[in-house]
């Protein structure tokens, strides 16, 4: 009987321990998150103590919701500047990135529980947030005069402008390892044909020509999306026609070409053998270590490389996905995300002041001083420093030559949600390019109907 009793006690203890372990872990996360906000408010407090004169917005705290993937160095520096000048404190709330983050943003908007300032994508994803209902129209604000028109068009809905740029623009491009290029005596390709020839030589040297990281499925889209500069050269009206249900990927040869390039890289055996199980972080490692020569990706990857492999960042160069003409080798640009102003904010004047400083030359310079420049800014009159990294220099060259075009998602509200998976299928031989394009057209049709767009 005594033994029985002990057993009961032991089981009870085990249950208790498990319960405690559960509490402990959840308790930990909550303290760590409060710690991060704690430190930020600490620095803010010391900043206010150092100045004694009363400021216009003393005591106002604005909340800003952003994803946890983006670098916060620049933002924090500008927030500090804003506090020194106006007394407005900025409290950053973090959310996950990707579509999990979209859920958080949409749900918080729908329940009226949104932060004052919202850091979110521009282009097609913004359209899905119903900006006219949720955000303040900034069209008539004087500070918008500083913002470049190319960015404004990506945050304009029905003629109203809703956002200021979060930081610098990025590109969808091929990052390449310059050391591999040097060792094999290769030069930057200006046509798709030349690029494929380079890949053959790299493969013959026993190096992976193109790094595929389709485990992180959005990265599979780059070969298609970064080809859009070439699409626009052949069919300048593709974006409008696509939105109006007049042009399809499957029936527009220039657009279908992107799917074909995606398939060609796989068929010719240029990908790493485990490309379906390789993720984004591993791919970056392969690129900087020279196990792979090219990685088609969004250039915000440069920030991750800078953070993780700072001594290798100068080995990385960049070129746009080439088309068929060597004279017209351009780059597809991704506009920076926007910062939007919640219509339900309690501090409208303070928030407008906050935005004004954020896009002022003073604000941008504070941003540049605190972070590595990763691309051109969408604000007029900004001089980039001379010590920018080589890949960004390559990017600026395309800008100066006028050979850039925005990606499709900044010209059309349509972007089918299943594109990552469809690109994985085409990029791994499960579907032909034409089947993939047709599947994507159906996916877009579904989205257009859900958005209730005219003409679908």
């Amino acid at each position: 009987m005594g033994g029985m009793k002990w057993k009961v006690v032991a089981v009870g203890l085990a249950v208790l321990l498990a319960a405690l372990a559960g509490c402990g872990s959840s308790g930990n996360t909550s303290t760590s998150s409060s710690q991060s906000t704690g430190t930020s408010s600490n620095t803010e407090q010391t900043a206010t103590e150092s100045t004694s004169t009363a400021k216009e917005f003393e005591g106002v705290t604005l909340t800003l919701l952003m994803d946890n993937d983006s670098s916060r160095d620049g933002l924090t520096a500008v927030a500090k500047l804003i506090e020194e000048k106006t007394g407005i404190k900025t409290e950053i709330e973090l959310r996950p990135g990707g579509s999990e983050g979209d859920n958080v943003v949409k749900t918080r908007l729908a329940t009226g529980d949104m932060a004052d300032l919202v850091w979110y994508n521009s282009g097609s994803l913004l359209q899905a947030l119903n900006p006219e209902e949720n955000f303040v129209d900034l069209s008539d604000q004087p500070f918008m005069a500083n913002v470049a028109d190319s960015f404004k068009s990506a945050v304009t809905v029905n003629g109203k402008v809703f956002g200021i740029p979060t930081g610098s623009a990025t590109a969808g491009a091929w990052l390449y390892n310059k050391k591999v290029y040097e060792e094999l005596g290769l030069s930057v390709p200006h046509t798709w044909e030349e690029l494929m020839e380079n890949c053959e030589k790299i493969k013959a040297a026993g190096i992976v020509p193109v790094i595929g990281s389709y485990q992180t499925d959005w990265t599979a889209q780059l070969l298609l999306l970064a080809d859009f500069y070439n699409v626009l050269q052949e069919v300048p009206t593709f974006a409008e026609d696509f939105t109006a249900n007049k042009a399809k990927f499957a029936t527009t040869p220039a657009a279908l070409r992107g799917f074909e390039k995606l398939a060609e890289v796989y068929e010719r055996g240029f990908l790493n053998s485990d490309f379906l199980a390789t993720d984004y972080d591993t791919a970056l490692k392969m690129l900087v270590e020279g196990q792979g020569a090219h990685y088609p990706i969004l250039t915000f990857a440069l920030e991750n490389i800078q953070a993780k492999y700072p001594d290798k960042i100068n080995d990385i160069g960049l070129f746009g996905q080439p088309g068929d003409s060597a004279d017209n080798h351009g780059l597809t640009l991704w506009m920076p995300g926007g910062i939007y102003l919640n219509k339900k904010t309690q501090h409208l004047d303070a928030a407008l002041k906050w935005m004004e400083i954020y896009v002022s030359p003073e604000g941008i310079n504070a941003y540049i001083a605190a972070s590595t420049v990763m691309g051109p800014f969408a604000v007029q009159g900004i001089q980039l420093p001379d010590d920018i990294i080589p890949a960004v220099k390559d990017m600026v060259d395309y800008m100066n030559a006028g050979k850039t075009a925005p990606a499709l998602e900044f010209l059309s509200p349509l972007k089918g949600p299943n594109l990552p998976q469809i690109c994985v299928e085409v990029g791994s031989g499960m579907k032909t390019p034409l089947e993939g394009a047709e599947a994507y057209d159906r996916d877009v049709e579904k989205q257009a109907q859900q958005l209730a767009l005219p003409g679908w």
Binding site: N103, Q215, D274, L276, N418, R442, Q449
Partner: protein, 288 residues
């Protein structure tokens, strides 16, 4: 008619639980039937009849989704029924380390599904994962567990079985323990061996437990989502998509009405498969 004095308690005691059940279960269930007929943005809705159901059935990956859901439910529930029975039987014998082994078998059930999924996804990496590196030591070239589209769903199913078989085993142990010892003693007197004990006493009399395991694991398999999402996100491509992950992706895309329609369809499918299965199984149970 029963008098109040015979019932001991008044029906009012049911009210708190009833309200919670109504507000958090019945009400959302009925609302979802309604919203499945609308184009819904969470704040605004527009009635569009059966359009969502038509769109859902036109979904490209739907056929893969239904097929995968069935394969997954049958594989995981079948393996859990068989392995659970063998483990349960073994853990009811007079092994010295029986109690210790019982907790070992049950342990994976206590872990977070997402953590298990993320950990196994790393371990199943074709070149860098510990499983294939271990196989390489033995001179075996391991497969691409999650990258091979023919294998990926079964890899996930195996992890599901590893994680869920503990619960099945516990249900079996309870079932076996409830069989009166007299039956075994009678068989021993008649000269039966261990196999006879298992075949003629344990197996028929453990049926109620087995049916619970079948029903629970089959319905669990039909609705399965978290492990698949943590390990493959339905990929590569759509190769491991199940109905629940297709619905989730539609929800992520902001198609709330459409994903609600998908949930209604999943509910009906689970009911259509689950109820007849339950009827069939309960009919065959033997009274102890």
């Amino acid at each position: 008619m029963t008098k109040l004095t015979e019932r001991h308690y008044t029906y009012w005691f049911l009210l708190p639980a009833g309200i919670i059940y109504f507000v958090f279960f019945l009400l959302p269930a009925f609302l979802s039937f309604f919203f499945s007929l609308t184009r819904w943005t969470l704040t605004d809705w527009e009635f569009i009849g059966l359009q969502n159901f038509i769109t859902f059935f036109k979904e490209d990956s739907l056929r893969i989704g239904f097929r995968n859901t069935l394969i997954y439910a049958v594989t995981t529930s079948g393996l859990k029924v068989i392995i659970g029975l063998l483990l349960g039987n073994a853990l009811c014998s007079n092994l010295k380390t029986r109690d210790y082994l019982r907790s070992v078998v049950f342990f994976p059930t206590l872990l977070s599904t997402i953590a298990v999924g993320v950990a196994f996804a790393k371990m199943m990496h074709p070149t860098r994962g510990i499983i294939n590196q271990g196989l390489a030591l033995l001179g075996i070239q391991g497969p691409d567990w999650l990258g091979n589209i023919k294998l990926a769903l079964f890899s996930v199913a195996l992890v599901d079985v590893w994680k869920g078989v503990g619960l099945a085993t516990v249900i079996y142990i309870a079932g076996i323990m409830s069989i009166p010892l007299e039956y075994y003693e009678a068989l021993q007197v008649d000269g039966g061996n261990n196999w006879h004990k298992f075949r003629y006493i344990t197996l028929p009399l453990v049926r109620p437990a087995m049916h619970s395991v079948i029903i629970l694991s089959f319905i669990g398999g039909l609705r399965s989502f978290d492990l698949i999402w943590a390990m493959t996100k339905g990929g590569p491509g759509f190769a491991t998509d199940v109905i629940a992950s297709i619905i989730y992706k539609q929800y992520q895309a902001g198609f709330y009405g459409l994903s609600t329609a998908g949930n209604v369809i999943l509910f009906i499918a689970v009911a259509l498969l689950g109820v007849p299965l339950y009827r069939f199984l309960t009919k065959r149970e033997v009274e102890l």
